[in-house]
Symmetry: C2
Subunit: 199 residues, 2 copies
């Protein structure tokens, strides 16, 4: 079986994060019959891997094998140069069980200041994995480079979006119109790559 | 770019294990111009992931990005039911820095005895990942089920082969002719899946 996905195919989206699910659905452009892992009552596996690609793969594999459907999973996060790539795959965990991203953003700001506060370069990475039930999987990564913006600006997007200003842009992801973010985001870039691998 | 690999393409094999490299070359059947990560002087990345697929992906990704060539990596190991799947992704590490598999085999036998010694079921898993430089990756898994054989039998193969007797067979992997092992091994099964995804 070559790695193909027919339009209209039923696809499990292996995320319990409503922000991510909304973005994935917008980018997928209604080409597939999407059902979320939550709707199917699938448990979320523990994200034990150390890379975005490894975690995306682990989540897609678990959802595909448990549901019998092709599954799409995302793993993404913010990497800060002055923090040697942290929070990286721990981006969600820095927000704690209450998903308090205001707290996570404070932690990033404090640590960047403690590191001297001069290098503000950062990047968002998104790994997308597509897994066939008990079959193969494909994984791609998209990345967008930018600069940390302190204090945070904007209330759109989710997670670290208010402190991330992409290269060549005047607005943070938290200030941008969702369509403008979708046109340049790490997630959109990963999707473009994923689509290219399936053609 | 669809995930295709033309016959004759130059391919880095991201393994420094001569036994694995030999098996991979035999299974690939001279269809590709193989070069090993060792020959290119590529460092081996640390295997930090918790799944076979995650580690195979990490190794293929590192070799592809550093060499600029499509890279193939393998991660494989023995899982023992009575040990909750151990040694699993730690199969090589149980042999220590000296790759002393006689010692690793003793450790498996001791722990299985400590666990009651009744359930001898075990399986070998092989994850194969193919990564394009700074591009997509595909990963598949092959598995072969069997029974632990104590004491170990045979001097062929490598690693845990002398204590693994595949289902329906009278010989251990350590006693089998290499061609017989290649016809049924977890590695051969993973290859069959990988080939199917590229057609």
């Amino acid at each position: 079986m070559a790695l193909k996905l027919e339009p209209g195919a039923r696809l499990v989206v292996a995320t319990h994060n409503p922000g991510k699910a909304r973005e994935l659905a917008a980018i997928l452009d209604d080409r597939f019959d999407l059902v979320s892992a939550g709707e199917l009552g699938l448990a979320e596996p523990e994200e034990t891997e150390t890379t975005f690609a490894g975690n995306a793969l682990l989540k897609a594999r678990a959802a595909a094998d448990r549901s019998g459907l092709v599954a799409l999973a995302d793993d993404s996060g913010l990497s800060v140069a002055a923090l040697d790539g942290a929070p990286g795959v721990y981006s969600a965990r820095w927000a704690g069980p209450d998903k308090d991203f205001a707290e996570a953003i404070r932690k990033v700001e404090e640590r960047v200041e403690a590191a001297g506060g001069e290098d503000l370069s950062a990047w968002f990475t998104c790994a997308l994995a597509l897994a066939w039930p008990h079959g193969p999987a494909v994984v791609v990564e998209g990345r967008v480079d930018g600069t940390l913006a302190f204090p945070a600006r904007g209330t759109r997007g989710f997670g670290y979006d208010p402190i991330f200003q992409p290269e060549g842009e005047a607005l943070t992801f938290g200030e941008m119109d969702p369509a403008a973010k979708d046109a340049m985001s790490h997630r959109a870039r990963a999707f473009a790559k994923l689509k290219a691998t399936l053609l």
